[in-house]
Subunit: 329 residues, 2 copies
DNA sequence: TATAATTATGCTCAAATTGAGTATAAATAG
DNA sequence: CTATTTATACTCAATTTGAGCATAATTATA
């Protein structure tokens, strides 16, 4: 048994590997991602922004993760916390870059978290964008997203009439019928919207000023970068529940409410305050600093993470109880 | 902000991408993986076996998953169930193949599950091996693995004396002190053993007959294939708990005990029978066939999976209660 | 200064889930 | 016929979860 090759011309050519990184932070209680607007302000018909990406150069970096960390350090001036490989995308016809020499480019997606929020914003053409600019249907913090009920579900039902085979997938991904909306299915939902032709990426890497907007709301990204971003969000939501990755998004000191707002931004749902507090306290990850933060009402206690425990230790019990759909008091 | 390249020589060269696949099945209540013994019986000094791998050819396959499915179909004659990309390994100096032309090879690991157990075994040099042949310390079904207590923990403690920075990682990965053994940390444990020099892979891809066995028990694989296999096992264990991937390892009909034995083979722990039964029944994934299977004692009811629900739907509640360490009645 | 509004924190309580059994049923082996 | 084996049903306490009420400590404002 062996994987054999009939035409070896494929191999001799070699491939390029791009590393594309979704760098995430939380600012103003919103999950944001760093994107680059190459032709910002240049013309009206500017292409959509993109994730920072660059070629992987095996001679210069021992591993891809080292590549990512070093690039981000040098180019963004940021030390990353959690860095995680997401997926290697090699789909033909899915906005993978093809170079002039006809070399295929495979793109490896990375998720990178930082807690450094005060880094140069207008220095170059890069900026922080709210993650839900790209996936408005994923944000349930203010109730059912308007675009979901008004646009997406009807459009999907129309599409399903011609594609009955996809019905079960769609039901599961979008929590239809008696099924629950699972916030981790970000990629599955994006893929379905893409297949159903409701996503504007089809026009994204050709210089069309304004895509014919029969699609669904949500900002586009170049190439397959929105897919990488969907993978990143889904992975972050999943990982959050059993590993303490949220800590890599927080500053040194924070209040429980701040922590909860970050969790809500990640998951795109509202959480029950008292239960969140109980769960966090039980997890034993926090240490009180003794200080308080004054704001509007009663001052909140400031916490920090327990020293030496930011490793990849299981965070049992961060399976957060959500009060999805409605903001609760 | 951009990832820039100083030396572009790196890029012009191009890279090769190998796809290596951990094909898993369950037979005789054991989780097995397909490996290839290239020089089987040739000489005494044969190299260790390897996973099936081959180059990814973007001109022939639209996606890598299609590649995997087609290769396995053609070469093994098996239709795969669940197929999942694991990780893309590009580490220098970590047994990544370098070709004669000095082209770097990046290897993409895949996990593939099959329920077809009766496929040619001696047809070529490939065979099924128990997964715990490669990771004996991961099998807790018969109590604490002997090699763990007798060899690994002492060796790690010695190693930690010179590498105190790794202490927290090791504690978490191996469940030392008050921490729990987490069966999902397969890769973390393997990586630590590798770093600590307790793994024989260092000798694996050079033709040394018998590696100087100061290491830890467990069969070697060529290149970085044992690392891929560790990733595969960890991912399978994790996924099992919240997605119904176990079904892709089962035959059309099976008993609850058979299902449990499969779950135990995956997780490497024993499970409480009555609670496993309760959990499975509640998940509503099974349908009785009305038939029974006669064996030793009381005949067991035969089940099949509910039609149309093998999709990637969440399997809430398969967070199995383990009676780790002891086989229970 | 008193009172309303706001935010944080403490506590309760029922429902659901989990962990660990006991009890009983239906077969085979001797 | 009896012991053994395996399957299945049921129980029960401990824990976890989901939801809410109650109280505390501030600021805003009348």
């Amino acid at each position: 048994m062996e994987y054999t090759s009939d035409s070896s011309s494929d191999i001799a050519n070699g491939l390029l590997i791009d590393i594309s990184t979704a760098i995430m932070r939380v600012s103003d209680n919103e999950l944001q991602c760093r994107v680059i607007d190459d032709d910002k302000g240049a013309r009206d018909a500017s292409p959509p922004p993109r994730l920072p990406f660059g070629p992987f150069m095996p001679n210069q970096h021992r591993t891809m993760e080292i590549s990512v960390r070093q690039w981000v350090r040098e180019q963004v001036g940021v030390d990353l916390g959690h860095v995680e490989q997401l997926y290697t995308f090699a789909d033909q016809g899915r906005h993978i870059r093809d170079t002039a020499k006809d070399q295929h480019v495979v793109s490896v997606g990375y998720l990178a978290l930082t807690n450094q929020v005060d880094i140069g914003d207008a220095r170059d053409k890069s900026m922080w964008r709210n993650i839900y600019d790209f996936f408005p249907w994923e944000d349930w913090r203010h109730g059912t997203p308007a675009c979901l009920a008004q646009l997406i579900i009807p459009a999907l039902e129309t599409w399903l009439a011609d594609n009955p085979d996809a019905a079960e997938r769609v039901r599961v991904a979008f929590g239809m019928d008696e099924l629950q909306w699972d916030e981790e299915f970000v990629l599955e939902r994006y893929e379905i919207l893409y297949e159903a032709g409701l996503i504007d990426e089809t026009f994204a890497d050709r210089r069309i000023a304004e895509p014919p907007h029969h699609g669904v709301p949500g900002a586009s990204l170049q190439l397959d970068h929105r897919r990488i971003l969907a993978t990143a969000l889904g992975r972050l939501r999943g990982k959050f529940k059993y590993r303490p990755v949220i800590f890599d998004l927080m500053r040194a000191q924070f209040t429980l409410t701040g922590l909860q707002k970050t969790a809500e931004a990640i998951l795109g749902v509202c959480l029950h305050k008292q239960n969140f507090r109980r769960m966090v306290e039980k997890s034993n990850f926090l240490v009180s600093t003794g200080k308080t933060e004054k704001a509007r009402g009663r001052p909140a206690e400031l916490f920090r993470f327990r020293h030496g425990q930011r490793a990849d230790r299981p965070l049992s019990g961060l399976r957060v109880s959500s009060s999805r759909g409605r903001a609760r008091r």
